[in-house]
């Protein structure tokens, strides 16, 4: 990024100054100034919107977490120190939410990335009907998580489609549970539908990585008589190094932010077995209007995401 092949006029003045003296500033000025003004004019709309609706709320959330702000309150906002955090860390529901989200992430991250890679490998090479399969695999991603949750809620009933399919497949031996109303099965049920919905998106990212691997490498491997497994192990897998990091980080962030499914299907129940950090934040911030407490939860969540991404980046860094 820092060293470009074709140095731009402004860079050249520092890179190869002895060869060519800098242009007369008076001759250059009008064009240079016009470029600055138009450039900033083009950057400004997006930059100002991001400033107003991402940076400011983020800083605001940081500040509000140390106050007693409520969404609608006659009392003035006061600084209360770490009261919100003290309350949060002694709340058993918060620790339960953290446990649930960890459980969700530990299962979803490896399973979803593996399935997405399998799907990408299945449709990587051109064959008759490749577009049909690409479209069908991506179909669940196009369907909103809210609709998906509602649909699966119906399929997960005691007399629903999932249990009927299980019963048919096992010749009547398996009688499935009432998935979402049993604390033991509610989270696995949510995990299954989440993977079903989101795997297609990560399939596309894997596919981008696969397409960037040169076909000549495979030809060379085939000439050397490498088996399909060896081609995968020694050509595909190393070629996907950057994609792996991207997939790992995006699936983890997505998993930690679990909310829609829980909000539609279980409202955190039964017995807090599916509550999550974001669900708790929304419950206190929106239903109970405690903006400050919700901001404290959001801040803890943000630090968590940052920490985990940093650790993942460190573990998958280029070693040399």
């Amino acid at each position: 990024m820092t060293t470009t092949q074709l140095p731009s006029p402004r860079r050249r003045s520092t890179a190869s100054a002895p060869v060519r003296p800098p242009l007369n500033p008076h001759r250059r000025r009008p064009r240079y100034l016009r470029e600055q003004i138009s450039g900033w004019g083009m950057i400004a709309p997006a930059a100002l919107l991001l400033l107003a609706f991402v940076f400011l709320p983020a800083i605001l959330g940081f500040g509000l977490a140390f106050t007693n702000a409520r969404l609608i309150s006659p009392r003035p906002v006061e600084f209360v120190g770490v009261d919100n955090f003290a309350r949060l860390f002694t709340d058993p529901t918060f620790w339960r939410a953290l446990l649930n989200v960890s459980y969700f992430a530990v299962v979803v991250v490896p399973v979803q990335s593996a399935l997405a890679l399998a799907m990408a490998l299945l449709i990587n090479k051109k064959f008759r009907g490749v577009n049909f399969f690409r479209t069908v695999y991506f179909l669940p991603v196009v369907t909103s998580m809210v609709v998906v949750s509602l649909l699966w809620m119906f399929m997960y009933r005691k007399d629903g489609l999932i249990n009927e399919l299980l019963s048919n497949a096992s010749f009547g031996l398996i009688h499935g549970p009432d998935w979402l109303n049993d604390p033991a099965t509610a989270m696995p049920a949510i995990i299954a539908l989440s993977i079903w919905q989101a795997a297609g998106f990560h399939m596309i990212i894997w596919l981008a990585g696969l397409q960037s691997i040169s076909g000549e490498l495979y030809e060379a491997a085939q000439l050397d008589g490498a088996s399909r497994w060896h081609q995968f192990r020694y050509v595909t897998w190393p070629g996907l190094k950057h994609t792996r990091t991207l997939i790992l980080v995006t699936i983890t962030i997505q998993a930690l932010g679990l909310f829609d499914q829980v909000s539609v299907m279980t409202q955190g129940g039964p017995l807090d077995s599916t509550t999550t950090i974001i669900y708790e934040a929304v419950r206190s911030g929106f239903k109970q209007q405690e903006t400050s407490y919700a901001s404290a939860i959001s801040l803890v969540f943000f630090v968590l995401v940052l920490l985990i991404s940093a650790v993942q980046r460190y573990l998958t860094r280029e070693k040399d």
Partner: protein, 292 residues
């Protein structure tokens, strides 16, 4: 040898079909069930009939949905909100990426880094402070001939649009794409006397079709599917988007046929749109777009 190869590709095809069946069966079940009365949905569940449009097929569930929910209004709202977000998003984000990629603007490196930094902030962490914040923003309203200023964006259309126009990921995608377009084209246009905006509009944007298709879909999907945000900031029925309509079915003695009809009603437009743009979308992401 040839037989083994054929067997191998047959096996691969079988796995492809298995994955396709798993991906498609819930959606097929939803569409088929939306055409059946409740009693038949449950009756058909234990056999393959659950996936076939047979028996008592009608659009009665759809008629009932329009009675129970102001579905037409919700659809119009969502179409409007998504369309405005997509159009403004394409314009503002591509313009920003253009300046960052192709112009010599002082300090652009810092700005680009700051923009990319917003990618690590999940929206859920911003949502609650953002509710508080938009409630403090001024709101200008033209009432007859006088301009009225009121406070608070809660319960409006713009609160569902403006915070989502600028998007770091869209800027990143456009930036990546613009870098692949030869800069000599700009030089040639400049010699012909074209200004920067003209180069953007007539030289670079016409070449950025695949990037625009990708950004359009990636902006449209969250706009159409948004649920958490409108739930928090929109109370009036006439301003609500389609996903909030789901709430009208959270009650006892719900008719599942009607639920499936509403779910199909708000899913089918997106699926149709996606299939129409499918080729350019998946291919453009798969061939250039997202690379770590």
């Amino acid at each position: 040898m040839k037989n083994a190869l054929q067997l191998n590709s047959l096996g691969t095809m079988a796995i492809r079909i298995l994955f396709a069946a798993v991906a498609a069966f819930p959606i097929l079940f939803m569409l088929i069930s939306s055409l059946k009365p409740d009693q038949q949905i449950f009756g058909d569940m234990s056999s393959v009939a659950a996936f076939l449009p047979i028996g008592n097929i009608s659009f009665d569930n759809y008629a009932a949905v329009f009675d129970r929910v102001p579905a037409a209004r919700f659809l119009v709202n969502s179409i409007g909100i998504s369309a405005v977000t997509v159009v403004l998003g394409i314009f503002i984000n591509s313009l920003c990426a253009f300046a960052l990629s192709r112009m010599q603007v002082r300090g652009k490196r810092v700005v680009f880094t700051a923009i990319l930094a917003t990618l690590i902030v999940p929206f859920q962490t911003l949502a609650l402070p953002l509710v508080w914040w938009v409630n403090q923003l001024p709101y200008f309203e033209l009432n007859g001939f006088s301009l009225e200023i009121s406070k608070g964006w809660l319960d409006t259309y713009q609160v569902q649009i403006i915070p989502f126009i600028a998007n770091a990921f869209s800027i990143y995608l456009y930036h990546q794409y613009f870098e692949s377009i030869p800069k000599e084209l700009d030089e040639a246009a400049r010699i012909d006397g074209a200004g920067w905006f003209k180069i953007y509009r007539q030289v670079v944007m016409p070449l950025a079709g695949p990037a625009t298709a990708t950004v359009a879909i990636l902006t449209f999907l969250p706009a159409w599917n948004s649920y958490l945000w409108p739930l928090m900031v929109v109370q009036s029925e006439e301003l609500r988007p389609v996903m909030i309509g789901i709430q009208y079915f959270f009650q006892l003695n719900v008719s599942w046929g009607e639920v499936m009809a509403y779910a199909s009603l708000i899913t089918v437009p997106v699926v149709v749109l996606f299939i129409a743009f499918q080729r350019s979308f998946i291919n453009s992401i798969a061939s250039s777009g997202v690379k770590g």
